[in-house]
Symmetry: C2
Subunit: 502 residues, 2 copies
C-alpha cells in the first residue's frame, strides 16, 4: 500500500512538472503579449509573431503528447485528493479540447485570423463591412468545424462558448442575457424619457500626465501591490500576468478623466484577482484564475460596485481636486452622477455605461450565435446589427465602422467571448451582495478608504481557490446560491431608479 | 537527380524550421530577460526564474533531440551551398556542445550559479571574499568538468573561452592580451608621469531626465532606427533583441553626463549590429550576429572611434549645450580631453578609460585561466588580484569589494568571457582603420553628422553576413588581414602620446 501511494505520488509529481512547464511557456507568451502591446517598437512585429507562434505550438505539443494522455488515464484510475483531482480535471479538459482538433485546422484558423485582422482594420477604416465579410465567413466556417471536432453532438456555439466559460453552461448565458434584455430595454426606455439632467463636473481638458498620477493614486487607495505589478498605458487596456507579477494598463483621454480612472479600476480588479492566487500553486490550475465570467466579475465588482459608488467618491474626490485644482467645484454627488450617467446615444460598446452596456452584448450574442448555428448569413450581419441596436437601444448606427465593425473580437475568431462580459457583471452584483452581508459596514469602510476586509473577502471566497472549484461550485461556495441575475437586476433598478427619478 | 535535389531541399527546409523554432524560443527568453532587467516588478522573480528555465530547457531539448542529430548527419553528407553549409556548421557546433554535456551537470551548474549570485552579492556587501569563495570553487570545478565533457583532450579554459569566442582561438587571446600588457603597462606608466592636466568641463550635477533627452539626441544623431528599437535605463546597461527589435539600455549618473552618453553610444553600437542583420534570415544563424568579439567590436568602434573623437564632439557639443546651458563654457578640446582622460587611480573596470581598461581585463584573464587550469587555488584569488593590480596599474585595492568581487561574471560561471572585451576593442581599431581607407573623408563626415557611409560600411562588411563566415573569415573579408592588435597599439600610442605629451 505504501509503495502504491509512493508510485502514485511520483506519477502525480511528474505529471505536475509537465503541467508547470506548459504553464511557464504560456506565461512567457503572456509577457511577450504584454510587451507587444505596451513596449515593442512597431518594427518588431515579424519577429514577435514568430516567437509567439513558436511558444503556442510548443505549449500545444507539450499538452497533447501521448505521455500526457497516459498520465491522465493513469491518474484518473487512482484515488486522488481534492486538489489533485481538480488539477487532473482541468488538464483533462484542456487536453481533450486540444487533441480533438486536428493540427491542420488549428493552423488554418491561425492563418485566417492573421488575414482577418488587417482585413477588419481596413474594413473599419473604409467603413465597409463587405471588405471584412469574406474572411469572417471563412472564420465562421472554420470555427464551426473546430466545434464539431470537439463535440459533434453539441450545438457548435455552445462548444465555442465553453472555451471562454466552461462551467456555467450555454443555458445560463441564454437565460441571463434574455433576462437582461427584458429588464433593461424598458429601464433604458424610462431613462430616456426621464427629465432628470445629471451633472457633468469634468468639462474641459485634463492633461494626461497628471491623469496618470491620479491613476497611481487610485491604485494606491485601492491597495494595489506594486511590488507585484506595474501600471502602463495601452490603446486597448488589459491586465495580464501571474500572481507574482500582475500588471495593469489603462488609457487616457484629455477630455475624459473619469473614463481613465474607471478603466484603471477595472483592470485593477482583474489584476488583484491574479495577485490573490496562491503563490504555492503557481504554474498549476490551482494557481490559475477561473475563466472569463469569474475574471470579469472581479473587474466589475471594483469598477461598478466600488468605483461608481458615492462612498468611494467621498474618499477619492479630494485626491482628484489635489491633482486638478480646476475641479474644485465638483461635489461628490456631481461625480457620482457623472460616473453613472446613461449614454442614451452611444453606439460604441467600450464607451457604454453600466446599463446600456449589456444591450451591446445582447446584440453581439444573438448575432454570433445565429451565425455559428447557420441561422443567418454573414452578408446579413451589418443590417441585422443596426436593426437590433434600434430595437434594444433606440439608436441606429449610420456606418459599419460604428456598427458591426467596432469590435476586434470576431477577427480573432472569438465567438462566444462577448456573453462572458455580461455574465461577469451579473456575477459581480451577486458577489457584492454576499460581501455586504459578511461585512456589514462595507460602505463605511469604502468611505474611509479601508479596503482590507473587502480584499480579504474576495481572496478568501474567490481568489485563493484558483481552479480548485468549477465556476458554479465557486459561486455557490461564495454566495450560498447558484449563479443568478436577481442581484444585478435589483441593483440596476434601484440605482438608476433613484438617479433618474423613475 | 531532380528528385534528389527536391528531397535535399525538403530535408534542409524541415531542419531550418526546427532551427527557427529553437531560435524563437531563445529570442522569447531574451525578451523575458530584457523585461526582468528593465520592467519587471521585484516580486516577479520566482515566476520569471521558472519561465526562463522552462524556455532554456525547451531550447536545449529541441536542440539535442535525435532528429536534430539525424538532420545534421544527413545534411553533412550532401552537397550544400555556402549559406546552407554555414547554417549546418553553426548548428552542429551548438549541437555538439549541448549533447556532450550531461543534463544533470547542466542543472547542477544552473543550481550553483543560482546560489552563487546571492553569495557574491553578500560577499561584496560585506567586503569579504571568503563568503563567495566556496561557491566559486564549486563553480570552477563544475565548469572544468563541463569543459572535459565537451573536449577531454583540450585545455579546459580553451574550451570555456570558445563558448564566447569560438573562432579566434585561445592563442590569439593569449598573444593579444600579452601584447596589450606589454604595450600598455609602460604607456600607462608614462601617462602617470606626465605633467599634462586634462580638462574637466563637466563639473557639477546634471539632472538625469535631461540626460535621457540627450541620450535620445545622440541616438538620433548616430542614426538609431527607433522603429526597431527603444531606449530605457538599467542598472547594468546592455542591449538585446533581434534585427526587428534591438533595444538599448543605459544608465545615468548626475555627476557624469559624459559617462551616460558613452554608455548609450556603446550599447547603440551593439544594437546597430543587431539591426543590421538580414531580415530574411531571421531565426537562422545567417540572421544572427557573430560572437562576443565581433559584437564588442561594434560597440567599441562607435564608442571609442566615433564617440571619443574630436570630430564627433564638433558635431555634438552644441546639442549638449542646448540641453545643459551651464556647459556653455566647454570647448570641443575640453570635451575631447574629458572623454579620453586616463583614470590612473581607478580600481573599477566598468569605470575605466580606454587605456587602463585592458589591464583590468588582463588581470581577470590571467586569474581565471590559472583557476580553471588548476594552477592556483580559489583562496589565493583576492591576494593575487591585488598584486596584479599593483603590478600592471600601480594601484592596490584596499578591499575585496573593490577588488576581485567587483564583477558579476564569475558568479554566472562565465569563465572565458572577459578576454572578449579586449579582443573586441582591438578588432574595433582594425575595422576602423579599414573603414577609413574605404571612406577617405570619414572624419569630415562625422564632423558633419553624416553617418550613412560608415553605417553602410559596417553593414556591408560585418552586419549583413550574420554567421555566414566564421569570425576569422569575417575579419579577413572586411580588412584584408588576419586579426591583429597592430592598429589598436598604433591608435592608443598616437592618441595618448598626443594627449599626454609623451
Amino acid at each position: 500500500m505504501a509503495t502504491e501511494a509512493a508510485t502514485e505520488n511520483a506519477t502525480y509529481e511528474e505529471f505536475l512538472q509537465k503541467v508547470k512547464r506548459i504553464s511557464n511557456v504560456q506565461n512567457a507568451a503572456g509577457i511577450l503579449g504584454w510587451d507587444q502591446e505596451v513596449m515593442m517598437p512597431e518594427g518588431g512585429t515579424p519577429a514577435r509573431s514568430q516567437q509567439r507562434s513558436a511558444l503556442s505550438a510548443i505549449a500545444h505539443d507539450l499538452l497533447t503528447d501521448d505521455e500526457m494522455g497516459d498520465y491522465l488515464d493513469d491518474l484518473e484510475s487512482r484515488e486522488l485528493d481534492d486538489e489533485q483531482a481538480a488539477v487532473v480535471r482541468e488538464v483533462r479538459r484542456d487536453y481533450e479540447r486540444a487533441t480533438r482538433v486536428p493540427g491542420e485546422l488549428v493552423e488554418e484558423i491561425s492563418r485566417t485570423t492573421s488575414e482577418a485582422l488587417p482585413k477588419w482594420k481596413e474594413a473599419k477604416a473604409e467603413d465597409d463591412f463587405s471588405i471584412f465579410a469574406p474572411t469572417l465567413e471563412k472564420l465562421v466556417e472554420q470555427k464551426r468545424e473546430y466545434a464539431e471536432h470537439i463535440d459533434p453532438d453539441s450545438d457548435p456555439y455552445e462548444v465555442l462558448f465553453a472555451d471562454y466559460e466552461p462551467y456555467l453552461g450555454i443555458e445560463t448565458a441564454e437565460e441571463t442575457l434574455a433576462r437582461l434584455r427584458d429588464e433593461l430595454v424598458p429601464l433604458i426606455e424610462s431613462v430616456r424619457e426621464s427629465d432628470v439632467e445629471l451633472a457633468t463636473p469634468f468639462e474641459g481638458t485634463y492633461d494626461t500626465e497628471t491623469q496618470e498620477e491620479l491613476s497611481r493614486d487610485v491604485l494606491d487607495t485601492l491597495g494595489y501591490d506594486w511590488n507585484r505589478g506595474r501600471l502602463d498605458t495601452a490603446p486597448h487596456p488589459f491586465s495580464s500576468g501571474t500572481t507574482f507579477d500582475a500588471r495593469v494598463t489603462t488609457r487616457f483621454d484629455e477630455e475624459d478623466p473619469l473614463g481613465a480612472l474607471m478603466s484603471t479600476i477595472h483592470e485593477f480588479g482583474h489584476a488583484t484577482y491574479t495577485q490573490g492566487l496562491p503563490d504555492e500553486h503557481y504554474g498549476t490550475p490551482l494557481g490559475q484564475s477561473r475563466d472569463l465570467t469569474a475574471h470579469e466579475s472581479q473587474s466589475r465588482i471594483w469598477e461598478n460596485h466600488v468605483g461608481r459608488s458615492r462612498a468611494f467618491w467621498e474618499r477619492f474626490l479630494p485626491a482628484v481636486k489635489e491633482r486638478f485644482p480646476d475641479a474644485e467645484g465638483a461635489s461628490v454627488e456631481d461625480v457620482y452622477e457623472a460616473a453613472n450617467r446613461v449614454y442614451e446615444d452611444n453606439l460604441i460598446r467600450v464607451e457604454a455605461d453600466e446599463l446600456t452596456y449589456h444591450m451591446h452584448i445582447v446584440v453581439r450574442f444573438e448575432i454570433e450565435k445565429a451565425l455559428i448555428r447557420g441561422e443567418i448569413e454573414v452578408e446579413d450581419v451589418a443590417e441585422l446589427w443596426n436593426d437590433k441596436y434600434e430595437e434594444y437601444l433606440g439608436i441606429r448606427p449610420d456606418t459599419d465602422a460604428e456598427g458591426c465593425l467596432q469590435d476586434i473580437h470576431w477577427s480573432h475568431g472569438s465567438f462566444g467571448y462577448f456573453p462572458t462580459y455580461s455574465l461577469g457583471s451579473v456575477l459581480a452584483a451577486q458577489l457584492y451582495d454576499s460581501a455586504e452581508e459578511d461585512i456589514p459596514d462595507l460602505e463605511e469602510q469604502i468611505r474611509e478608504g479601508e479596503f482590507d476586509d473587502f480584499h480579504n473577502w474576495l481572496t478568501a471566497n474567490v481568489h485563493r481557490y484558483g481552479c480548485l472549484y468549477t465556476t458554479d461550485e465557486l459561486i455557490e461556495q461564495a454566495t450560498g446560491e447558484e449563479f443568478t441575475a436577481d442581484y444585478f437586476v435589483e441593483y440596476v433598478n434601484e440605482k438608476y431608479g433613484a438617479l433618474y427619478d423613475l
